[in-house]
Structures are given as structure tokens and as C-alpha cells.
Subunit: 401 residues, 2 copies
């Protein structure tokens, strides 16, 4: 179906705003049947819902709990089962590392090795991020193996990213993390003949790193997993003739947006400044992805009141966000993060689509998960929200004579 | 999914009526939130909705505005993205030309060429249909090029259809319309080696036509586009064991029905006579496609009251249409044509399915777009309505042991 959307898409001057509250979706709590969204004071969101059309969307499909990668791919109109983003790539992207096509990226953990070379702690006693930075600085002094450049990057605590850049690399390498203690790290093993040279490069680096770290009391080894390269994802420009811009503070979401070809102006951390950045990047763009992280954080922490407060703050600032004028506004999430689960979940996300005179104005007059059940958009895969938004913006030509 | 429907379909004596109001679907107007359907007096449609099951259907998919071809393919249970009907074929079909497999058809415009052979008017001053017929009569006198028979047919004003019949033809030809003035018509160019002989035949004809028209003040040239051949579409008989009949006045819909194997008794233009023709063709058929054009025309004209009046007339005549008795009745549309858009749109079409004791009788008691939002059929691709209708008619055997 999205193939037809691609074929019929044409560039117009109309502007589409996607306001994404990360992990917004929730499930009713037992005592009063409310979700943080349903409990929030949200007159501005309600106005959009009343004037627009509501529904619920499955980021990947019924029952599937998405990570941030698949959730955002669905939001951007991609089938998340068609384009997979490996852990190594997500790690690199999540620390704002500018991954290039052909780079091979892996997530690594610092670990503790005992005298026999067996793993005694897979997380090196969860060393501090400062400690991590000190070790990474030492590893960066190592010479790169012949034929490649190695980048070592701190993520947080014991976690980091390793990126190999050079000609003819291949990411088809097995994890070196045996996922248990009492065994040595696995050798770097090529899963394809084409990956043999890359395996040799990584093997050389890992051996040198082990020597360099041999005097460390805790973090004297490295475990690598999730080797991957940038997937070849056609951009939003190529697929839908959009000129998209990402207004997001957190590197991971900026990285995901970069993967689909969005421009990335700097975005400050407070909501008010974030929303102001939308206005500043108005010229030259017709698709605005605005990402609010804090709903998800509150959900992950199991904090109903904080999740509600974030939604209320978004609602309060919404008139300012909308003031520059957009022909189409969608408000939704990349996935649900129910407070009761303290984690991502598979529940469809609520969504409203506002475009006066263009979308079917349904009977839903409030914006909540329960109200969206009776919305005219129905329940659909999340990627179809992009199709509905493009149509509402007049960006899809008639199909067939 | 429709593959299973095909496998399980079996012929029975039960009769299915598909009453299709072209372009019926609409969106609520701003002042009172009504659509023409919602505003219409429609006691008989309401009775069917009350006794039956309602829902909404996407002719192609969310956000996709269908032309008449894809809309009707969806209605007839086909995936419109799987079978495409080119403009040339639709033009031929739209003037009741009996296109045969292997024929190559193109839409043409008469155009005006200046002294240098460049196009000065792509529509030849929009000559009258009578003028068109006079020119077509002259072109019909030209000898057909060796190896083929040429048919030249008037559509209306400056538009016509050119059909080439003969052995070994191929429709893979590029448009000769450069889509601008100040340039000469493009040569007839084969897009595949297999189309070279066809390109030569059409080139010969176009050159002869130009000589024949050289004395004309306005229409002294022809621009060809949308070369295509009949797609190989399996018939409703083959797919679903149906014995279908089309009761439609307009050639385009008769042509689309012919493409899927429907019988085509003559159908008069008034609604009362059209509905009477259904009764007359009752014997020997078990699927009745009844096409009402005037809802779409009123929508295209942006005429709310006329669209409402057509719906009311259909409702008034409905008891007579249903009098012969049908086990299953569906009332729906091929696409939406909102009055506010004056054009086809992507909004799902409302539908009711009536088959007492067979379909799930839901809570919907009136037939309108808004009421259908809460119908038990939900929101689905339009081709699945055929599956529901076949099931309700007892024409689908159990799948699997």
C-alpha cells in the first residue's frame, strides 16, 4: 500500500506537523480507569481532537512491543519489519555519532576478566560514565589496524560504541559476548566469507585493547555485540517528496530522523525552547517532526503524576507551537509506555489528525486512549498515519484513471 | 486473504445485490456536521442498516484517492494495486468499445499545429463533439497500415480513442503528447523491443492522419497517450463462482464490469427504469451490480442539495429494487466524492450489509458516514466487502478441517 503512496506523492507548499510524545500511550489504571493522558488537563489537545479525526495505531502490529527504532520507522511511514536497525547502529546514532554508509558499528560493554581470562563480571561492576570516558581516551590512543580507522565512543556507565571505518568492510560478525560469566569472551567470528577481513581488523583491535586495559582492576576487557551497518533506507524526500526537519533534543531520535533524511537544526532541552525551534526552522520545510521525550521517561519510571504533568505542559505550550500555522497536525506517539509496566508495550498509540475541511470530523471530542477507540481513523498500522497526513495535506495525487 | 476466498467459493442459488452509489461518501460540512447522506430522508436505507451490519471501507488504502477503475476493482473484490487499468483502456471501455485481448488502445487529443509543426493548442480549441465526429469519419477512411486494423473513436470535444488490432502487438509505447505547447508532437517510441512493430504501425497511421487533417484550421494534429492493453483479470465466475450481471447506464462502468466478466443487458438512464432492469435480468444470475452515477456527478459539481436529492430518490425507489428478493444486499460506493472537494477523495466509503440471520446485527440504526464509524464491519479494504457478502450468502465453504 505504501508503494502506491510513494508513487502518488507530490511536493506542495502545505505543512505537516507531527507532534510525537514518546511513550504517550497508556492503559487505564485499576482504581479510576484513567490514563495519564485521560487524567490530564488538556483543553488544547481536546480542541484538535474535536475539530479533527481520531484513532489508534499499531507501531509494528498487534501484540508487538517496539523499540525506539521500529516505533519511529512506523511514525515516519516505513514498515518496521522491512528495515531493521541493528543495536550497533542504534548505539552510534544514539550518541550523535555521524555514521557513514559502510561503517560497521557494535555496542560494547567493558567487562571484568579473571586471571584465567574468563569473564567474572559482564558489566565491569557498572563503572561510572567518567571512568568509561577515561578508558575510552586510552583506547583512542591505540593505532588503528591496517586498512581501517577505529572510533571508540562512550555511551554511559559500562556501555560504549565501537565503529570501524574503511573500504570493503562487512558487518556480518557474531557477538563476542557469551552472555554468561565463567567463560572467556568469544573470538571475533565472521558469519560470511565477505566479513573475514573485518573480523581480522576487529580481532587485532580487541587484542590491543586487552593489552592496554590489562592493568585495570575492573574494566580489563570488552564484549562486543550487535555488529551492523547503516541500513539503506530511502529518504522521506525520495519516498514522499517531503522536505522534513527534526526538532528533537535526544541524540537517538535525531539519529533516527537523520536515517530517513531529515534536517537537524540544534534543539534545546526545555519544551518551550524546543517548540520555539519549530518556528525558527519553518522556512524550506514541509514536514516537522517534533519529539517530546519526557512522557516516556515518566512512563519508564512508573510515575503517573509526572507523565500527566508532562502532557499538561505540552498542552499549555501547544498554542505557541501551532501559532506559525500548519495545514495538517498529527499528535501521537512512537509506542505506549504504560506506567504500570514501566516499559515499552504493544498497545496501540492514540492519535489525532487535524486538518479542517480535509479530514473526516468524527464524534470524538476529547483526546484520550479510550476516546480514540471510537475515532473515524479506526485502528491501523502506524505507517498509514503518514498516508492519511499526506492525503489531508493534498500531497497525494489520484491513483488510477 | 482473497486467495482463500477464491479457494472456498462455491456456487449456490442465493442472490447478492450490490447497490453502488458512485461517490456516495462525503465529509461532514462545517455548519451542521451533516453529509448529503446524513441529511437525506432515507427510511429504507435506515431499515437495511438497522437490520444489518455497517462499516467503512477503503477502496485502495488509507489516504489513497482512487480513480473509477481502482474503486470498482475494490468493489468487485480485486486488489486495485494488483491490476492496473491504463487510460487508453479506460477510454475505449468508456465509449463502449469492445476491446479484445491483445488490442492496443490509447487516448488521443486533437491538437493544433503551427506552420513549423509545433503544438500551438494541445486541445485544438476544444472543438465540439460534432466537429470531432466529422474528423473521426475522415480518419476512418484512411487505409489501415499493413498488419493491423485501426479503430478511431470519438469520446467528446477534442478527445478520442485509438485502438490498434492485429497479431503480435505490444502496448509498451511512450506518449506522443509532450504536455506543452511550442514543441512538436513526440515521435511514437517503443519502450520495449517487442513494441517496435506496433510503434511502426502507429507512426504510419499518425503520419497519414496528419496529411488527412492538414487543411483543418484547428484540429490538424493528434497527441496520443496512455497506450495500454486489456489487463488479464480473472473473472468473477473464475474467482468466486458467481454469475454476475451489471445494471449500469454509463459506458465506463459497463466497461469495468465487462473486464471482470459481467453480463451487460441494456440499461436505461432513469433510476426507476434502471432498477426495473434488475428484475428483468434476475434469472440466471446471482450477483447484481447496480450502478447509480448521479451521486458522484452532484459531488463533482459541489452540489450538496442535488447529492442529497439523488440519495432520497434511491431510497424512495429502494423497495421496488428489493421486491424480487435478494438474500444479501450491500449498499456502498466506489469512492467518496465530498461536495466540499468537488472531486474524488481518499475518505473511506460507508457501507451496509444486509442479510437477516446471517450478518452480525450491530447497533447502527441509521445509514450515514458517521453512524458507520461504529459499525461492526469496522474499517477494512473495500475488497473484503465481497468476502463478507459471499459469506453472508452462504457461498464460502469452511476453510481447513
Amino acid at each position: 500500500m505504501m508503494r502506491i503512496v510513494e508513487r502518488q506523492a507530490e511536493q506542495t507548499a502545505t505543512r505537516i506537523l507531527f507532534l510525537v510524545m514518546d511513550g504517550l500511550g497508556d492503559i487505564p489504571r485499576a482504581d479510576d480507569g484513567l490514563t495519564p493522558l485521560a487524567a490530564a488537563r488538556r483543553p488544547n489537545l481536546d480542541r484538535l481532537a474535536r475539530e479533527g479525526c481520531c484513532g489508534r495505531f499499531d507501531p509494528v502490529g498487534p501484540g508487538i512491543t517496539p523499540g525506539s527504532g521500529p516505533g519511529h520507522l512506523g511514525l515516519f511511514g516505513y514498515d518496521p519489519t522491512e528495515y531493521e536497525i541493528g543495536r550497533g547502529v542504534l548505539s552510534a546514532v544514539g550518541i550523535d555519532f555521524e555514521l557513514q554508509p559502510g561503517d560497521v558499528a557494535a555496542r560494547f560493554n567493558f567487562c571484568t576478566l579473571d586471571g584465567a581470562g574468563d569473564i567474572s563480571d559482564r558489566r565491569a561492576g557498572r563503572i561510572s560514565t567518567e571512568e568509561n570516558r577515561r578508558l575510552v581516551a586510552r583506547l583512542r590512543e591505540l593505532p588503528s589496524p591496517p586498512g581501517a580507522t577505529i572510533f571508540v565512543e562512550t555511551e554511559a556507565e559500562h556501555r560504549g560504541a565501537l565503529i570501524v571505518r574503511g573500504p570493503g568492510l562487512c558487518h556480518r560478525l557474531a557477538d563476542t559476548d557469551p552472555q554468561r560469566t565463567g567463560a572467556p569472551p568469544l573470538p571475533v567470528r565472521a558469519l560470511d566469507a565477505a566479513a573475514e577481513p573485518t573480523a581480522r581488523i576487529v580481532t587485532t583491535f580487541v587484542a590491543e585493547a586487552r593489552t592496554a586495559l590489562s592493568g585495570e582492576p575492573k574494566a580489563n576487557g570488552m564484549l562486543l555485540r550487535g555488529f551492523d551497518s547503516l541500513p539503506e533506507i530511502p529518504s522521506l524526500q525520495e519516498r514522499f517528496r517531503l522536505r522534513p526537519v527534526c526538532i528533537a533534543t535526544y541524540p537517538m531520535y535525531r539519529g533516527l530522523a537523520r536515517l530517513v533524511g531529515m534536517e537537524l537544526p540544534p534543539a534545546p532541552p526545555t519544551l518551550a525552547d524546543l517548540f520555539a525551534a519549530v518556528k525558527a526552522s519553518r522556512e524550506g520545510h514541509d514536514f516537522f517532526f517534533v519529539h517530546v521525550k519526557y512522557t516516556d521517561k515518566a512512563g519508564e519510571d512508573g510515575d503517573f503524576e509526572r507523565k500527566r504533568a508532562v502532557i499538561e505542559e505540552v498542552d499549555r505550550l501547544l498554542p505557541g507551537l501551532l501559532a506559525p500555522g500548519f495545514e495538517v497536525v498529527a499528535v501521537t506517539a512512537d509506542h505506549s509506555t504504560p506506567v504500570a509496566h514501566k516499559a515499552h508495550s504493544w498497545h496501540p498509540v492514540p492519535a489525532l489528525l487535524w486538518a479542517p475541511g480535509r479530514v473526516f470530523r468524527d464524534a470524538v471530542a476529547t483526546f484520550s486512549e479510550s476516546a480514540c477507540v471510537s475515532g473515524a481513523l479506526g485502528r491501523m498500522p502506524l505507517r498509514f498515519l503518514m498516508a492519511e497526513a499526506l492525503a489531508a495535506a493534498g500531497k497525494l495525487a489520484k491513483f488510477g484513471a
